[in-house]
């Protein structure tokens, strides 16, 4: 919690006059405009705090749930090397979740509360993890496209106005690059392999392309949080800007692989110097977000089961720590 537990929100004006609150808010925005970083104990508007708690915890949940589709292939990875790499990648995703929960806790929320929200199904996580991993090529497509889209989203977050979130993102971005490259290498190996392997790679691209494009979230006209988040410098680019950047860098990579992007309307816009894609099926996106994607129920059930199965371990460790503490306490002070 970066020590802010001492006086959580202690600097908030308790019954301050409206003028005082306005002055604090003005000074806060001035610090943001001057590119200063906000740290846990600094005064911040409650809406800024709540926005960050929501965003960082959703991000943490995404990392944790994101371990499931890939974990599905650890036992079936085609070689010892691929298995070692996949284990390392899945472990990284768990680590990213931990960095992010840690950052969220600096805002005065408890990790247990956030985990409870995920398990109760009241917290959101990235829609992408509600799609199934049907073949080994899906592990390549996830690294290449899903981690690629995540990097595009996350690099600007390294400059987010909230210090602990920005620092967590720096750490995460360094590790994501390995994820993306190992994914592309899997796709390249398959694309240069037998006809069956090429088909498998194409099939994975066919299924993951649109969900990856949707990872950037609703279009700018629909996105309700964008304007305020940009004023607070939590967000630096709009959803559509990042989506366009991703399409522009990914299409040439697909061409190199000799694979076809499943978008018949995709074309090069010479005047604008961009690849222009076809319309996105937002009904699918909304259905997955609402809990009706192919794997929503399965993912949550797996998380609940893991949490319940671990309960006795957590309780035993806490009891052991308690016993050790009492043993080492001077006589008479044991409690």
């Amino acid at each position: 919690m970066y020590t802010q537990a001492l006086d959580v929100h202690g600097t908030e004006p308790v019954a301050a006059a409206a003028g005082e609150a306005a002055r604090l808010a003005e000074r806060f925005q001035a610090r943001i405009d001057a590119e200063e970083r906000i740290e846990p104990k600094d005064w911040m508007p409650d809406a800024y705090r709540q926005t960050l708690i929501r965003q960082i915890s959703q991000h943490a949940h995404s990392e944790i749930v994101g371990m499931l589709p890939e974990g599905n292939w650890i036992t079936r990875a085609p070689s010892l090397k691929r298995k070692a790499v996949l284990i390392a990648k899945v472990q990284d995703e768990g680590g990213h979740g931990m960095y992010l929960y840690s950052a969220a806790e600096t805002l005065g929320v408890e990790r247990g509360e956030l985990v409870a929200q995920l398990l109760a199904g009241t917290a959101k996580y990235s829609s992408i993890f509600n799609y199934p991993t049907l073949t080994w090529a899906d592990i390549g497509a996830i690294g290449w496209l899903v981690d690629g889209a995540a990097i595009m989203n996350q690099i600007p977050l390294c400059r987010c106005s909230y210090g602990p979130y920005a620092r967590a993102m720096v750490r995460i971005c360094k590790e994501e690059s390995f994820h993306q490259r190992q994914g592309f290498e899997i796709m390249l190996t398959l694309a240069q392999g037998t006809a069956a392997q090429r088909d498998m790679a194409q099939d994975a691209l066919d299924r993951w392309w649109w969900p990856a494009i949707m990872m950037f979230g609703p279009s700018d006209v629909e996105s309700k949080h964008t304007a305020q988040s940009m004023r607070w410098k939590i967000k630096r680019f709009s959803n559509d800007e990042l989506r366009q950047k991703f399409i522009d860098i990914t299409v040439p990579q697909a061409l190199y692989l000799g694979l076809t992007i499943p978008d018949h309307e995709l074309r090069w816009d010479e005047a604008g110097q961009h690849y222009r894609g076809g319309a996105i099926d937002w009904n699918e996106f909304n259905a997955v977000l609402k809990g009706n994607g192919p794997c929503n129920r399965e993912r949550l059930a797996a998380r609940r089961e893991a949490h319940a199965d671990g309960a006795w371990v957590r309780a035993a460790a806490a009891a052991y720590a308690d016993k050790e503490r009492r043993r080492s306490a001077p006589t008479g002070e044991a409690s």
Binding site: A5, K41, D92, M98, S102, R111, Y320
Partner: protein, 94 residues
Amino acid sequence: MTDDWPLFEVFIRSRSGLEHKHVGSVHAADARMAIEHARDVYTRRAEGVSLWVVRSTDITASDPGEAEALFEPARDKVYRHPTFYSIPDEVKNL
């Protein structure tokens, strides 16, 4: 209140000769487990040669509201810096 294990702040010495630096936090039942968790969470790529963990509740921090009173007085004491003093160019080794 949830039944979370206590929170520990994690500090890493990236290589010998450098100081420990704060990197984040972990939950753990006790200090030994906190070291093990910190190792798994924060040093998967040889980020360190030594770890410190300390219970978050054991850290006392300065209040940002007092930052001015604490740190502003140092700003106008420029004479504490070597560049405050003008020395002729021909004088060497100063």
